[in-house]
Amino acid sequence: MVANSHKENVSQQDQVTSSWYRCAVATAVLSAVFSIVICAFMLMNYGRSKMVGTADETVILDLKSEIRNRPDDEQLLSRIRQFDLLLRQQRIRALDRARQGGYLLLAGVVVFIISLRSAIASQKKLPSPKLCVDQLKEQVGNAKYARWAVTGSLVTLALSSLFLASRVEIDFAKAGAADASSYSVNDVAKNWASFRGPNGAGISTHANTPSRWDGKTGEGILWKTKIPLSGNNSPVVWGDHIFLSGADPNNRQVYCFDTSTGKLLWKGDVLSLTKSDEEPLEMMEETGYAAPTVATDGRYVCAIFPTGDVACFDFKGKKVWEKNLGRPDSAYGYAASLAVYQNLFLIQYDQGGVEDNKSELIALDGFSGRIVWQIKRPVGNSWSSPIVANTGEQFQLITCADPWVIAYNPTDGAELWRANCLTGDIASSPIYSNGLVFVIEPYSKLVAIKADGKGDVTKTHIAWVSEEGGPDICSPVSNGESIFLLATEGLLECYNVSDGKRLWEKDLQEPFMASPSLVGNNLYMLSEKGIMFIADAASEYEQSAKCELGEKCHGSPAFADGRIYIRGVEHLYCIGEKDPASTSLQDPGKNWPSFRGPEGLGVSDHTNIPTRWDGKTGEGILWKTEIPLPGNNSPIVWNDHVFLSGADPNNQQVLCFDTSTGEFLWKGDVLSMPKRNEEPLEIMEETGYAAPTVATDGRQVYTIFPTGDLGSFDFKGKKVWEKNLGRPDSAYGYASSLAMYQNLLLIQYDQGGIEDEKSKLIALEGSSGRIVWQKKRPVGNSWSSPIVANIREHLQLLTCADPWVIAYNPSDGEEIWRANCLSGDIASSPIYANGLVFVIEPYSKLVAIKADGKGDVTKTHIAWVSEEGGPDICSPVSNGESIFLLATEGLLESYSVSDGKRLWEKDLKEYFMASPSLVGNNLYLLSDKGIMFIADVRTEYKELAKCELGEKCHASPAFADGRIYIRGLDNLYCIGSND
């Protein structure tokens, strides 16, 4: 039966060879080919319109920019026009092709399918049910397989989700919190970000403000810099930037100065975007062309000029935006300074008469210049600056003009309260002091308004009014109990805050333009002649000092940590003591700022280095402090701070000690910021979790850890920034120390094999952690530290790794020369001595390279090679004539610098991890056991002393004025005589 049915089928099939079938197949094949061709064609078309199209557009853009340079090049012109035409035609054609192609393809496919179906239909088999033998078996089997299949997919689902879920994601909750505390708009209070500082109150919280200086002798004056264009505005300060603006009838500029050196970092030109029909602005000389003070939110600095031009720059001097608000109609010229609130710059744009209804309050977003909000003000023109006062529960933007004093909500410009109490030309700014807002009407009165009102509070909230006159320019200042008014003619008055009774007055017999400021109990009043009156004003006027600057001053001074910045008519002055932060950059030479000291040569030029001590008796040991966390890195020294880092698998810290007492000052935690989910780092014990030595530029201390985490702290232990460079792939764990060049932090980030191309050289800006430049390096992982060498007045950043020794320009990372001469695991750092760079390949050779080459100098500039082996860890040191190599096993060798001949060798029979250092003619060799060999090595090895510390030492010592700092396994030792 079954057989029969089969036969039938077969015979059926044989019959089906009708011509119909054949032609169906033929059409099917044809249409298939057709569709495929069309398809390919469309793909091509698509590709062209996508890639070539864009390419052409760039071409035409280039051409267009070219035509700008030579506008009357007819040939170029016609080329552009033809090309443009061509492009447009192409675009249109591509569109048409796509459309037609679509239809054709569809048609082709339809035909194909029809013919295919009919072909198959024409030879359809009759149903041939296969009667299965064991139905039950099959059923059970199917169910089983299905179950397994489902289980399988379950497992795959589980695994894949497990894999995906294991990725570390950013914790936004934490990120949000961090953002609030990060270096940002919230630091406004800490800096002098706008006119009269925080809250516009003219009060500085810094206790260490200088109180004595003299312009003639230059005493107490840190620096003095010429200001290109004049202006009656005051400096503002943020971090290590000072901003102010200057202008003349034709130019408007914003300036940025460096706080430590007074160098003009950049100046930004502000164009005048006024309408073409306006005639140039005429300003009266008292006001000047740049009366309004600039303001900064910590990211951008914003300046406004009496022309109505507003411009915003970032801290690098790049113009972010500029716009024109329309020239203000102001009787004496626009003079109101900017206020800042979070990301908003607030402009009190009062103009015209009261009835003109032209006055406005404008809030601009710093990033974009977008007008965030803008409201009309029912007042006439004024010259007083708005303040953003923190009244405890809220921020109030307080403005005063004729006739209204109005407080707004700085975020949206909603009006909080208003009081009608002023008339005339209001120039002095309001201030806020415990619950009261004080405003002044010139020559007439001082008004105190309670700041907790709503709506029109003229009747209800005016606490008191004192009718005994008031200054016309200078703003008041208050310490909470009394408020001080300084008239232009020099009459200083003191009123009681609570009831407005006049407590005392004092005539200083000097004209004043600048507003008085308050530091602690001391009033600082800067006269127009540039004389600063400093007086304790708690109970009555007690003058404590009178400092002459010797230059006319119109702007109010700015106060920062230990400094006063005063703008004279021509110069900007910085007044304050030389503190480590500022002296720093001039002389790293005195200090031991990074691994192996200045320039990383292991040479100290101090003569008074101790030569005798004993760890057992404690003789010659000044102090000894326990180090909280272990690490194989060396201490570094800056003035009275010693820094080093320590880490274990879970913690990474920078540690700061006091040089005189050894007191443990602070420790800074560097968080681990892994990018992906990385299992905790495993590092072999010889390297340890904190092998790289920290570095400092005198302002901040920088550290890196084998996890790729970087951190920076200021000298007080406050974290400035931290970031993660991605975990380095290093065979024995990352160990290269940091190098410093001016404000650049240089990191030799060698990893992986040579072919991996993962190695980099990275330069970060010290203050921000921003990557200034980075260069790929064609080398494998290495453990040697880079050095910045001053070779014949040319700075070179020297790096050695397998196989290249490369010298870079430290400021921009441009490669200067490279030599292919090393292989293997390079751990010892390069050094240089009279024009030669020395690098070591462990157990194999010492190479001297002439440093004046360009490009690949392998063939040309290798002075000599000594194949007599070389140390694997310790870096060499040289006194200019001979170079000294110290092998880990204690073999000390001396080679002649000039020809590489071996002069002598000496086996010290000790283990050495620390690199040798040279002081004068004495070589200091610190053994693994903590024994310091001190020897004169001019002609041969003459041992002078052998001092035991009694603790194992892995790190190289640091040398400072009369001291040696040695890191033992557990303790930090300071060796020297206490005098």
Binding site: Y46, R99, G102, Y103, L106, I113, L116, R117, P127, S128, P129, Q135, L136, Q139, N142, A143, Y145, A146, R147, W148, A149, V150, T151, G152, S153, L154, L157, A158, S161, L162, L164, A165, I170, F172, A173, A175, G176, D179, A180, S182, L271, S276, K318, K319, V320, W321, E322, Q342, N343, L344, D365, F367, S368, G369, R370, V372, M673, K723, G769, R770
Partner: protein, 434 residues
């Protein structure tokens, strides 16, 4: 004017940096003195009339009704095929395949979870009608109305049988797809069903290359495997499956009684025909019982771990939401881990909104994804558990039947049944006899 151009030249820099792209009105409107030129206003061509939307809905209703009739009463494959062709042309190529019932699912979910989004009536209709019809007449929608089904049905030329185990494993994809689609729609992140609709760009004859390729491949597969999208991917199909299990009337292979001729066996390209199942022998029965109890106990475990897995995926799933992506970008930029900035972040900074706020938003969106993840994962766990249970219980079957869930009501099996031929003969020359 030269003066002007110079200024503009000078401001080139600020053009690049200036985030202010909405613009402020710098120049006053013209006052024409010589000519009395009137200031025109821009043309605003109206979108498609709502009327047409309602027509679509009506067409859908009619098509569904007709399909049900053809499937259950007329039992004519030809007619069904014709209707399929029509749907393909109307809903597919004419209406450009949007909005379709499959995508409408997301709009419904979105409107339930997002207070601001109100879903148009037509979309509701497109979502509901097929479901209701399925409750009554089985998956007539899939058979002849759905354009996606139609285009696959067209290309299906030489069906090969997909082994049962593969079928039941692949079908899980659809459930996962549905769950994800709902999660993303509910969180207002994305309409993934629309984004990865494989055939829409074919209906439009234009679209992104990737989707075109995807659609092409699916169609190519569809030549041999019957309706791959409907069976293994379609999220809407998942709902239809479950409903059609309960449908009042459904496809029966034979018009009256099954004579067990087994002719229809391989007539179904979708592997939806079930053989008669013999009685379960004793020893098998015991094993099956223990297995079943084990699986029943396993079910809650699966649900829980599914939920747990789903919730722990929040970090990944929440990436679908633009706010989270933006927050991440901003974070990485601020952390200095990436140098280049994106338009999105620049635009964000231009708004002057505090990054803190953004992070907070991102945080609670992610929290929502966590909750959603629990539900999603739990659902998938449940599905898999039930699937396993379903595969371990034994349903006795005496006749050849179309599987309630899987049958797409295409009517291919009808003319394989000898009883059907009898019926047709009756209907044809029935009256003539007397």
């Amino acid at each position: 004017m030269r003066f002007f151009s110079n200024i503009l030249l000078g401001m080139a820099v600020s053009l690049i940096l200036c985030g202010d792209t909405s613009g402020i009105e710098r120049f006053p409107p013209p006052d024409f003195v010589e000519t009395d030129h009137f200031i025109p206003s821009p043309t605003t061509p109206e979108p498609r009339q709502d009327v047409y939307e309602y027509i679509d809905a009506a067409v859908l209703l009619v098509a569904l009704g007709l399909a049900s009739y053809l499937v259950l009463k007329k039992r004519s494959r030809r007619a069904i095929f014709a209707l399929t062709l029509f749907s393909l042309l109307y809903f597919g190529f004419w209406r450009k395949g949007c909005v379709c019932s499959i995508g409408a699912t997301q709009n419904i979910v979105f409107s339930i979870f997002d207070p601001d989004y109100a879903v148009p009536v037509v979309v509701v209709v497109f979502f509901l009608l097929p479901l209701v019809f399925t409750l009554f007449f089985g998956r007539a929608f899939c058979a002849a109305v759905c354009p996606l089904g139609a285009i696959q049905d067209m290309v299906l030329a030489r069906p090969v049988r997909v082994p049962g185990w593969a079928e039941s494993a692949l079908r899980l994809l659809a459930y996962v797809y549905l769950a994800l689609a709902i999660l993303f729609a509910a969180t207002g992140s994305a309409f993934v069903i629309c984004r990865y609709d494989p055939f829409i760009s074919i209906f439009r004859l234009s679209g992104s290359l990737n989707i075109l390729i995807l659609g092409g491949c699916l169609l190519l597969i569809g030549v041999f495997v019957g309706r791959p999208y409907c069976r293994f991917l379609c999220p809407y199909g998942v709902i239809l499956r479950q409903l059609s299990r309960l449908s009042k009337w459904r496809v029966t292979i034979t018009p009256d009684e099954c004579i067990q001729c087994s002719l229809c066996e391989d007539s179904c390209p979708f592997g939806a025909i079930r053989r008669p199942a013999v009685q379960w022998p004793q020893q098998e029965y015991h094993i099956a019982k223990t297995r079943l109890t084990f699986l029943l106990l396993l079910l809650p475990v699966l649900v829980f771990f599914g939920g747990w897995a789903g919730s722990s995926l929040k970090g990944v799933t929440s990436q679908a939401h633009e706010t989270v992506r933006l927050a991440k970008q901003i974070y990485l930029e601020d952390a200095g881990q990436i140098e280049e900035v994106m338009d999105a972040s620049t635009a964000f900074r231009a708004t002057g909104q505090q990054t803190k706020e953004l992070y907070e938003q991102a945080a609670d969106i992610r929290a929502r994804f966590e909750v959603g993840g629990w539900i999603l994962g739990g659902f998938i766990g449940l599905v898999i558990g039930l699937k396993l249970i379903g595969l371990s219980v034994w349903r006795q079957r005496t006749d050849y039947e179309a599987d309630q869930a899987s049958c797409l009501a295409c009517g291919r099996c009808y003319k394989y049944c000898p009883r059907e031929h009898v019926r047709l003969k009756k209907t044809k020359d029935g009256p003539g006899k007397w």
